[in-house]
């Protein structure tokens, strides 16, 4: 039943200490800690409260995040007939909250950064409940297909462990949020150092893992590559059309689209490593690694595209915002189509 890829990883896990070695594990957990702290340092309560006052955007974002994304992941897993381990990994990615990089991509795609931050905050804080529930709905079927021991017992998703790791990850996030409240200047520095360290470690890990496990690349069937790429892209696509369907303004559509498609990749590493036992942890790790590598490229391209199509409405919106600030009123706005 298991594919060659999964067997190979299991083989590596039993003979060579898993997909990633202990140094990389330490680095990975450190990275998650630092990134989550840095992410917390960008999330402020005020933005969040403001967003709650006009809850439409955040609500749509929430639905898109935890409604669309898991279904997209599940459907891809079913349609491409992924083996159960990869299916679980894909669905796990789909059930995670949004990553902090979505805020940066939103900025460059001329979206609403405040909304993006609020949505990230909301999904990160609620993930502790939502992720296990969604995994229960979408992933448990795949888990039953995996036979772990000789007694023929099916694999059980370690919900409690997942909840604990999500809770642990929230500690640096909240730490960062407190720092931002206490000292915005230090929060800025923390965020910068965090993103810099994050980038360095993630590049190191990707290079190191892929260099040591180049053989896995060759064993990986095209369906895995396709699902790692398209889970994000379809998330963005459906997120966009969902918010378009309910007539949100274009800059919110772009925000929600990116927010839906960009998941918290590092968080998936942390959950897999902290909650699953060998060899499952190694088997579940391969797809998130591929996803993390691909989402950066795909969302960059989507962002460039959004930037282009969003030019007009963004300039109109920006001009009105500035007029309101400077003049205390907004002048006629029907001139949007002067281009």
């Amino acid at each position: 039943m298991n594919s060659e890829l999964i067997n190979k990883i299991a083989d590596k896990a039993t003979n060579g200490g898993g997909l990633i070695n202990s140094l990389e594990q330490v680095l990975l957990l450190l990275m998650v800690l630092v990134i989550m702290f840095g992410m917390g340092a960008t999330l402020n309560f005020k933005n969040f409260r403001d967003a709650l006052k006009k809850p439409k955007g955040i609500l749509v974002g929430f639905l898109s995040q935890f409604g669309i994304m898991p279904i997209v992941a599940y459907s891809i897993a079913v349609i491409l007939k992924l083996d159960p381990q990869n299916a679980i990994a894909l669905i796990l990615i789909g059930c995670l909250p949004a990553g902090s990089t979505s805020n940066m991509f939103t900025y460059f795609s001329r979206g609403d950064v405040a909304l993006s931050i609020s949505m990230t905050t909301a999904s990160t804080l609620t993930a502790i409940i939502m992720t296990p529930i969604l995994l229960g709905i979408y992933a448990s079927g795949f888990a039953e297909q995996i036979i772990v021991d000789a007694s023929g017992q099916p694999f059980k998703i370690p919900y409690i462990n997942i909840i604990i790791s999500l809770a642990l990850v929230l500690i640096p996030v909240i730490g960062g949020m407190i720092l931002l409240k206490k000292s915005p200047d230090w929060a800025k520095v923390a965020e910068e150092i965090a993103s810099f360290t994050g980038i360095v470690i993630i590049i190191f890990l990707l290079v190191s893992v892929i260099a040591r496990h180049g053989d896995l690349m060759l064993l990986t069937p095209w369906t895995i590559f396709v699902s790692a790429l398209f889970v994000g892209l379809f998330g963005m696509l459906f997120g966009y059309f969902f918010s378009w369907g309910i007539k949100l303004p274009p800059r919110w559509r772009r925000t929600i689209s990116l927010e839906t498609g960009i998941q918290n990749g590092p968080l998936s590493f942390a959950i897999v490593l902290a909650s699953f036992k060998a060899p499952m942890d190694s088997q579940l790790l391969w797809l998130p690694i591929l996803y993390s590598a691909m989402i950066v490229a795909s969302s960059s391209i989507v962002t460039l595209f959004f930037r282009k199509i969003g030019k007009n409405d963004w300039e109109l919106y920006e001009n009105q915002t500035i007029q309101e600030k400077l003049f205390g009123k907004v002048y006629a706005s029907k001139m949007a189509n002067q281009y």
């Binding site: 810099f196 007009n312 920006e318 001009n319 007029q323 400077l326 205390g328 002048y331 001139m335 949007a336």
Partner: protein, 662 residues
């Protein structure tokens, strides 16, 4: 089309122009400035046109509708005051909303304005107002009013003075802007259609403005610019500014350069925000302009500030900045190659071009990812120093130093260098976003003809089919003919004939057409020196003064695009020997400390103590030439200096002197 290949002239020129200059104007039926004002009021009536700062954070705007209405009232008021069509009306004011109101009034009554700012000197007031036959004068404030009133007894032609602000004190014989507007309004309410009739009667060949060039010594010349001149500029400046953009106005509004951008803004219905040098930093943050007309000094200041901030930042950030700048540089440079944006001065052959293409392609691929990350993470923050929505700026009024030019264009703030002069209203050539060739001033406007003439013989070097590549890559004096070239100097037919022959304006600047059809500048043949800060200096008067010293035999003042003036000096050997310094040759003298001290003292005595010279006209440094200037080589038959030749010859020494000055 491959960049290395020589491009056949005429057909490709047209092809190029069509590709570069998108027809962006909606000016088909608009033939004069007043009609453009009218059209904008109709199209953008509800939108803000010009804004002015009320308090540190609040601004007030006047809409296109209000502005036009007020302008019509003012125009009618002016007509009732006796202003005739085509009359010249002076506006002495710096950038402010009342300026544009006054301009609207003048244009809408079919007259032309004679604008100057508060930096006008007293002698200029008397000369210009008299020479331009001005009868009505707008003054910005009570200070300007007081300065004007001193000279009123000699300015016999003046019949009305209009104060542009409300003043608590009443000034005898002075109207306020508001009064004239109110009077006009009453007339219009009683059915006066005089302004509308005047607008309909404007010919495109009539003047819309008469701008007196700032001559520090010598008399100012009145440059006659027509409606057609200005409309052609608005049509052709390849800057995409749209209704939802914001334009910040910081250059003096009476300069034709700034006025082009005001007109462009009016044409597309976007709002212009009046700023000034003191508040520019905070205005950039508040207004977040999409565009501004600028001078090199602005970029120099900003450059210093950014560098300073980088120096002060923590080491990680400093390192990131260096990395980001390096990546941007390589990336932009590679992209520039493929968009034919590298100045090609020699005409590459196909093989070199191919090699360069491969090299640039490899560089591009290697740098793409780090560039993407660092551009988003580091450069974006730097770009915020000009507000978050900046699309670009045209820099003019002086040469942009290459390192500053590169810096801003590499970090992603497009600074487009333009070239022109008041006499060409003003732009002849400017880089566009598509043709951002650093180191050149971009392609020449379509419909503008350029001739490059040999400096000595006057032979046409470009366009000249008998020369290789039609004369591209050859340096000479730039002559230009086109819709933007002035009608002439007001009441100065002889001076007009000197520079304007057969429709071609002799710019006095030295340049060449590069192999990718851009204009590149090298120096100038005319005497006037334009300092880095934009101050015009006439060197001849200073040189004459220096020559009064017995120790100085020959001299030339230099300082084009520098912060201060320097002099090249040939000392008098006889005089030196007589005063007891034993030097036999000029070469010896050039290296003698005693001579240097003596000459320095002489310069100081001649210039510094003379109150007629302004501070920027003082000679700050000098070099002693090892050889006298000779007829045939450095002097013309009439013994006047061949400035360009001398500058080229002693380039190394001059550069060294300039470095010393910094």
């Amino acid at each position: 089309m491959w960049p290395g290949k020589a491009i056949p002239n005429i057909s490709s020129k047209i092809l190029f122009c069509n590709a570069i200059f998108k027809p962006m104007s909606n000016l088909e039926n608009v033939k004069n400035v007043a009609a453009m004002y009218q059209a904008s009021a109709r199209k953008y009536g509800e939108l803000p046109a010009f804004a002015t700062k009320l308090s540190p954070t609040k601004w007030k705007a006047i809409t296109y509708g209000e502005l036009y209405e007020t302008g019509l009232n003012l125009a009618t008021g002016l007509i009732d005051l006796g202003v005739k069509a085509k009359e010249h009306i002076a506006i002495l004011s710096d950038n402010r909303v009342e300026w544009i109101i006054a301009d609207y009034g003048v244009q809408l009554c079919g007259a032309a304005d004679v604008p100057r700012g508060s930096d006008i000197t007293d002698s200029e007031i008397t000369y210009i107002l008299d020479h331009a036959d001005v009868r009505v004068v707008f003054v910005e404030n009570t200070e300007m009013l007081a300065r004007l009133q001193v000279h009123l007894p000699v300015l016999k032609k003046i019949t009305a003075v209009i104060l542009m602000i409300e003043s608590s004190a009443s000034h005898k014989g002075v109207l306020t802007l508001q009064e004239v507007i109110e009077n006009g309004k009453k007339s219009r309410e009683n059915g006066s259609k005089k302004a509308e009739e005047r607008i309909a009667a404007i010919e495109e060949d009539s003047l819309f403005t008469l701008i007196y060039t700032a001559g520090t010594t010598g008399v100012p010349k009145g440059v006659m610019l027509t409606h057609k001149n200005m409309i052609s500029q608005v049509e052709q400046v390849p800057i995409q500014v749209y209704t939802n953009d914001r334009v910040l106005s910081i250059l003096p509004v009476w300069h034709i350069f700034e006025r082009v951008f005001e007109m462009m803004a009016i044409n597309v219905g976007c709002c212009t925000y009046y700023s000034n040098r003191r508040t520019i930093a905070e205005d950039l943050k508040q207004v977040q302009p999409s565009f501004l007309g600028s001078a090199p000094r602005l970029w120099e200041n900003l450059y210093q500030k950014i560098k300073e901030n980088v120096r002060k930042a923590h080491p990680i950030r400093r390192m990131l900045f260096s990395a980001a700048y390096f990546c941007s540089h390589v990336f932009q440079d590679s992209v520039a190659f493929f968009y034919f944006r590298k100045p090609d001065l020699r005409g590459r052959n196909l093989f070199t071009s191919l090699l360069l293409a491969v090299y640039n392609a490899i560089r591009w691929v290697l740098i793409l990812v780090p560039y993407g990350i660092l551009n988003a993470g580091v450069m974006e923050r730097i770009r915020l120093s000009v507000g978050g929505s900046f699309k670009g700026s045209v820099s003019g009024g002086g040469a942009l130093p290459l390192h500053i030019d590169q810096f801003f264009n590499y970090i992603g703030i497009p600074v487009l260098e333009g070239y022109g002069m008041t006499e060409t209203s003003p732009i002849l050539a400017v880089r566009s976003y598509e043709r951002l060739v650093i180191g050149t001033v971009g392609p020449v406007f379509p419909g503008t003809e350029i001739k490059i003439l040999d400096i000595n013989s006057g032979e046409i070097l470009y366009p000249n089919p008998s020369k290789p590549h039609n004369g591209r890559g050859l340096k000479g004096v730039i002559h230009a003919r086109g819709p933007q070239v002035m009608k002439g100097y007001y009441k100065e037919e002889e001076k007009t004939r000197e520079v304007l022959q057969d429709g071609f304006m002799n710019t006095g600047d030295i340049g060449m057409i590069t192999f990718n059809n851009c204009l590149k500048l090298f120096g100038r043949t005319k005497d006037t020196i334009v300092l880095f800060g934009g101050e015009n200096v006439e060197p001849i008067a200073i040189e004459a003064k220096l020559l009064e010293s017995a120790f100085i035999d020959q001299c030339m003042v230099v300082g084009q695009d520098e912060k201060s003036l320097g002099a090249l000096i040939v000392p008098s050997l006889n005089e030196l020997q007589r005063s007891g310094i034993s030097v036999q040759t000029l070469e010896e003298a050039a290296n003698n400390e005693k001579v240097k001290k003596l000459i320095a003292a002489e310069i100081k005595r001649e210039i510094s103590k003379d109150q007629r010279f302004k501070s920027y006209e003082k000679v700050r440094d000098f070099i002693l030439l090892p050889k006298a200037l000779e007829v045939g080589d450095e002097l013309t038959g009439k013994l006047s200096l061949k400035r360009y030749i001398i500058t080229e010859k002693y380039k190394k020494n001059i550069t060294e002197m300039n470095r010393r000055a910094k």
